[in-house]
Homo-oligomer: 162 residues x 2
Amino acid sequence: MDTYLAIASKRDERAYAETPIPAEVRQRILDSGRLSGSSKNRQRWEFVVVSGEAKDRLAEAVYAPENVRTAALVVAIVGEASGFDAGRCAQNMMVAAWADGIGSCPAHLPEADVARLLSIPDGVHVNRVIGFGYVDPARAAAPKAVARRRKPLEELVHRARW
Amino acid sequence: MDTYLAIASKRDERAYAETPIPAEVRQRILDSGRLSGSSKNRQRWEFVVVSGEAKDRLAEAVYAPENVRTAALVVAIVGEASGFDAGRCAQNMMVAAWADGIGSCPAHLPEADVARLLSIPDGVHVNRVIGFGYVDPARAAAPKAVARRRKPLEELVHRARW
């Protein structure tokens, strides 16, 4: 898919089809995060790929369980990356996935619970959990909250200075 | 450009050719930020497009002046977006630009100085300044700091749990 088309059409999705994600596509998603730029190229992130029973328990810990429970791939971004760098990394993964027909959404999470469930050591920051899955054709319409229009550029852009 | 190719090949650049960026390409870059997903679709970002004299003064305020001074487009992301959401927004802009042959790099900045130079009101957070410009053919090799290899996936990925 064309890059700008993928970026401009990407919607955050929270409910997914049951179709599994092939191994090579999963790898491409993780590589897209891995290859992201970061401050001083520090790459201060690690990825926990959560599946099976751990995924079910994790679903109950996050604020939007469906996003994790129905996802075919769940990735926790952990480590000392800044929020900004973690966002760059996550967006790379989510846009690459979208170009393959896969929706995604970052989950809000109670960090201590997620760390306990995933046996993440003390002092290792859990930044975000992201659910990925093929877009469910039965729910192809965007959920209301996501379908809200974006603000027009005229509202956002200041020229030369504020 | 294919989405995954753009994501995987994107390098952060800090020195640019003098070629101006056409208006429609500038708009596509800003739209890529504008259309980014954000927590609860709050879109808590505004963009200050810095040019002319303000750009020269800004270059002296950031830690890597060349990134701003030689850039054909300089965008400050300001507002109450989380670092994570600002990172998603910035990555959208930078990957879209890359697909058009335009390099970019976020600049580290002393926030108070930048706010003063751009007349940004008290209480409005300056998240990042990003320089954009066509890749300078005379300097097409990646600077050493950027060319460092990324860690392999095996070092980053934990399966099921830490």
